[in-house]
């Protein structure tokens, strides 16, 4: 197996992790607290895709997963809005620990709900595009991996444009950076915070669709994604959207490369060792100007 294929696999994994980490940071910035249900929203997105796929006639389509993607993102967004209204808004004036415990509770409810509805077995979402592999320069590359990278890149670019180039994005950032001031100048902070939850959960659900075709999904799969997003955000810089994306790719490429050079178990241990080193020597992360205020 060539390093080119391993790199593509790492990029595909990183692209999906990046969506999870981006959603994590969006909610972190808006709510000022960690959303521990983020991984379970990824899992829920995978199962939502499976449920939608069984209800829609997708078999004949060349791009079944791409057809599902906007529906899954919308369903995730709806779930995020509910999380904001149920687990964040009533607790927002309490200490941050109340919010993150509430999100842990939401995550556990999602796990048990998925177990009750879909069972404990691993399940698989439809592929984004039909077909197995393409040969480029003598190297066989997985079509799914390439499609994941392309889909995630488009979504990340769209999100970047939304946040940087639109009035809604500017309001979202203003509400996240200084809610009191934003409220004083008439920005509807409550609605925008719920929107941030919806965006973050929508990204998580989309990641669930992308990941579950290649790596499957189970009701308990969320914790691993949550941990990877947490590490990516810590390395990239707590609160930084750019850092979340770069951190996610670093985590995935490190995971795949260390797995190739050493062993998967050692790769896991080395990843956590790298996290410890990052916390010791660069606690603000790569792009973490906001770290002091949001950690």
């Amino acid at each position: 197996m060539s390093w080119a294929q391993i790199a593509i696999d790492g990029l595909a994994l990183g692209a999906a992790y990046a969506l999870v980490a981006l959603g994590f940071v969006l909610i972190l910035n808006a709510a000022g607290a960690v959303n521990f249900a983020q991984g379970d929203l990824v899992m829920a997105g995978g199962f939502a895709a499976i449920a939608l796929a069984s209800a829609l006639p997708l078999d004949a389509l060349p791009v079944p997963g791409l057809v599902l993607a906007p529906l899954v993102a919308l369903a995730g967004g709806g779930a995020g809005w509910i999380v904001a209204e149920v687990a964040y808004r009533p607790l927002r004036h309490r200490p941050p620990v109340a919010v993150f415990i509430a999100t842990i509770a939401v995550g556990i409810m999602l796990q048990h709900g998925a177990n009750g509805i879909f069972g404990a077995a691993e399940r698989r979402t439809p592929p984004l595009v039909s077909g197995d592999a393409v040969v480029v320069g003598g190297v066989t590359l997985s079509l799914q991996s390439l499609a994941i990278v392309a889909t995630a890149a488009i979504v990340i670019l769209l999100l970047h444009r939304l946040l940087e180039r639109t009035q809604l994005g500017r309001r979202l950032r203003a509400a996240a950076e200084d809610p009191e001031m934003a409220r004083a100048i008439g920005i509807p902070v409550r609605r925008l915070t719920a929107l941030a939850f919806a965006l973050g959960a929508g990204l998580a659900a989309l990641a669930g669709l992308l990941l579950a075709n290649v790596y499957f999904v189970t009701p308990t799969a969320g914790l691993a994604f949550m941990l990877k997003a947490y590490i990516a955000v810590t390395i990239g810089g707590w609160g930084s959207l750019r850092g979340a994306v770069i951190g996610a790719f670093l985590v995935a490429l490190f995971e795949v490369a260390a797995g190739r050079l050493f062993s998967a178990s050692l790769a896991d241990a080395l990843l956590y060792a790298a996290l410890l080193l990052a916390l010791l020597f660069k606690p603000e992360g790569l792009f973490g100007e906001a770290a002091g205020r949001r950690a």
């Binding site: 691993e122 998967a264 896991d268």
Partner: protein
């Protein structure tokens, strides 16, 4: 006189209640319905439930005992398993037996409790160590790793004629137990382990491991991975064009594992197991009833639990403590005939199933009766 009559009536009532209690057989089912081994735990639970409430064709029609049960979720977690055991012991009818969780770590935590309370612990866990601790209250109805790993190694070395084996195993108690047994059998059969590596259950990308297997010069791969990791390995090995025979652990016989893969990705892949209810024509009746009742595909864990509960019901009708009866009983189950080896190992046979690449239902390629004893010879 009134006092004598009252005392006599009280004694009669007590005797009647005692007789009713003896007719009852309360079996707590301590199984992981959630957590990492929920899939296997749900199979285990469903097999047991079918045995406790069988339609005429699947179970015991005589029913002199009135079985009852309670299900406790152990969450693939030893601490929860211990709590479940304590709660089960507090039931109105004191249990004489319990079905234990499939994960070896939880079973190890329950062993001292079973000994203290003198409760027979029925198990479908493969972890070899469970029956090596001298505990007289464990009865394992799934062949231990000593048995199934002997079959797995023998199939690769003797049937497929492979000499350079790559071993990929999970970094859990299950994986480590299998790795130890496989390594021992491979070497005792005259082959060599040329590559050995462990994989955490959270590892999604196996391309590094697969590349290392290829670099090692191995001529076959033996897997000891849980269901999800097994499917990930096969999927990514097919994508990478790894053209080596693969003989997996029992997770690979499970219909739910095969459902994750395309038939072509399963081509030439084999797996050890105690039984294959979905593939064995001799078990078609059980498979049909299981599908009707449980709305899922039966696997070897479900059948082992079904046989274990029926053996316990048969032993409960014998005089004396249940553990002593189970130690003596010879129970003709659906998967095999069960009999203790003196340590509580009741199952001694294994089969190898293989996929042909055209469907997700495997065929039985080889049956092994006591493969560990033959391998030792």
């Amino acid at each position: 006189m009134k006092t004598v009559l009252f005392l006599a009536a009280l004694a009669a009532l007590h005797a009647a209640a005692a007789a009713r209690a003896q007719d009852r057989f309360h079996l707590p089912l301590l199984v992981p319905i959630t957590g990492a081994l929920a899939l296997e735990g749900q199979s285990e639970r469903d097999g047991a439930l079918l045995a406790l409430d069988p339609p005429t064709a699947a179970g015991d029609a005589a029913r002199p005992l009135r079985p009852s049960h309670a299900v406790f979720d152990t969450g693939s977690n030893p601490q929860l398993a211990v709590q479940a055991f304590e709660r089960a012991m507090a039931a109105e009818i004191r249990p004489r037996a319990m079905l234990g969780p499939i994960d070896g770590n939880s079973m190890l935590a329950l062993l001292p409790l079973a000994e203290r309370e003198k409760v027979a612990l029925l198990s479908v866990s493969g972890t070899a160590r469970l029956t090596e601790l001298g505990n007289a209250h464990i009865f394992r109805f799934f062949p231990s790793d000593v048995v199934v790993k002997a079959a797995q190694a023998r199939y690769a070395v003797q049937e497929l004629q492979r000499r350079k084996i790559a071993l990929v195993y999970q970094n859990t108690a299950y994986g480590q137990s299998g790795n130890e047994q496989l390594g021992r059998w491979i070497e005792s059969l005259g082959a060599a382990v040329v590559y050995r590596n462990s994989v955490p259950v959270t590892t999604k990308e196996m391309s590094g491991v697969i590349a290392q297997v290829r670099d090692s010069g191995a001529d076959a791969v033996l897997l000891q991975l849980h269901s999800g990791s097994s499917a990930l390995f096969l999927k990514q090995a097919a994508r990478a064009g790894l053209a080596l025979p693969i003989v997996g652990g029992s997770a690979l016989h499970q219909p739910s594992t095969a459902a994750l893969l395309e038939p072509a990705e399963l081509k030439g892949v084999c797996a050890e197991t105690a039984s294959a209810p979905a593939a064995d024509p001799g078990l078609a009746g059980f498979a049909r009833i299981f599908r009707e009742r449980m709305k899922s595909e039966p696997d070897a864990f479900a059948l082992a639990a079904f046989d274990a509960v029926n053996a316990a019901l048969a032993a409960a009708r014998m005089p004396g403590p249940l553990a002593e009866s189970l130690a003596k009983i010879r129970h003709p189950g659906l998967a095999m005939t069960y009999e203790s080896d003196g340590k509580g190992n009741m199952a001694h046979d294994a089969i190898i199933v293989c996929y042909d690449g055209a469907s997700r239902t495997p065929r039985i390629a080889k049956r092994y009766a006591r493969p560990h004893e033959a391998a030792r010879r």
